[in-house]
């Protein structure tokens, strides 16, 4: 059984603060399910800082986290942060596609 979480129920339509992301992952990491689907349906905006925090938290999480229903806006912000990692010669944590979400690189 895969646990599916609708992100608007956790954050509202916009995700603005790093602490809300880290707090969410803290809760996520404490659930029993090993595989969790995060549904971005109706999430309109994620800030650059939150996208960065999401990538960091996803990388250190032991759960298999799968993203679905990422809009162009959300996808673009994640892609932008990945490009920033690349520009700073930092290891890029994930490859990203709108269909498959964020997959460990």
């Amino acid at each position: 059984m895969v646990n599916k979480i609708l992100l608007t129920s956790q954050f509202g339509n916009n995700i603005f603060t790093r602490s809300s992301i880290s707090n969410f992952f803290r809760k996520l990491n404490s659930v029993k399910d090993k595989k969790i689907t995060l549904d971005f349906k109706d999430v309109e905006f994620i800030s650059r800082s939150c996208a960065d925090e999401y990538l960091k938290q996803k990388k250190i999480s032991k759960k298999k986290v799968i993203e679905v229903n990422m809009s162009n806006n959300i996808y673009n912000m994640f892609r932008n942060v990945c490009v920033q990692y690349e520009n700073m010669n930092l290891p890029i944590p994930f490859t990203i596609s709108q269909e498959r979400g964020l997959v460990l690189a």
Binding site: N14, F16, S19, S49, C50, Q84, L90
Partner: protein, 286 residues
Amino acid sequence: MIKVEFPHGDDILEYISVAIKVMNEMEEEFYKTKQISLDLSSVKWFIPCPMILMSNKIRELLDHGAQSIMYKEPEKENVREHLQKIGFPLGTKEDGSSYVSIKHFRKNLEDKNQVNREVNELMTIIEKKIPFQFGESIKYILGELSDNIDEHSNFECASLMAQYFPKKEIVDIAVFDNGVSIPKLFEEHNIPFDGDRDAIKKAVWGEVTTKKNEEMRGFGLRTCKNLSTEGLKGELYIVSRRGILILKSGKEPIFYELDKNPLKGTFIYLRLRTPKKKVNIYDWVE
């Protein structure tokens, strides 16, 4: 009674200076008498920025045990009415067709999602009042500013308000937190700086971060600067303790250092011009 006299015109810096002076006077009066008394009777015109600062101070002093507020309203009827509408002095949940009234929220240490939720609510209201050409620019700016407050300021009371001026086609947004100022935060982390204005510059230009091994921080405020001044041809005012930074489209940054009255906390004021075409934030995000 503390007499409030604003400048003529709408020079934002002059208004901010008056507000900071009044805030310090209010604090002095509070420590002597446990009361707050403000005389706004001669105010003939105002812009939002000084009102949110003074309103936050009143809220703070009430929380600290002020026993009463004596408040003389402006004699001019339309000024008095507008002041009431925007929620001065204590804030209100009611908003107008072109403005988001003064909103205060106290820090709730138990609620890690508090700032995210409050800014979401504010954004939902703002979006209905501003032209579509702003796209996601205001979300980006407010998101990064609120994240900085959430992460660093340890505020007691944060305040927000916004107003759209349809004739001038500008949006004013004010954000104030009465927590740890940028220079104070740098001092706490042993980050060197040359005067409070230099601390603001270092924060906004993303030259330093208080987090260790975090190379991916510092982009947010720098993009806010570029997006608000160049993307939206606007003005950005940041006041933190004694430092002031003013950024205007196409102009060199202006720095000031307040000599008498420091501000406890950080105040950010944006004046943004409605773009001709819908803004794409990715043209400005680094």
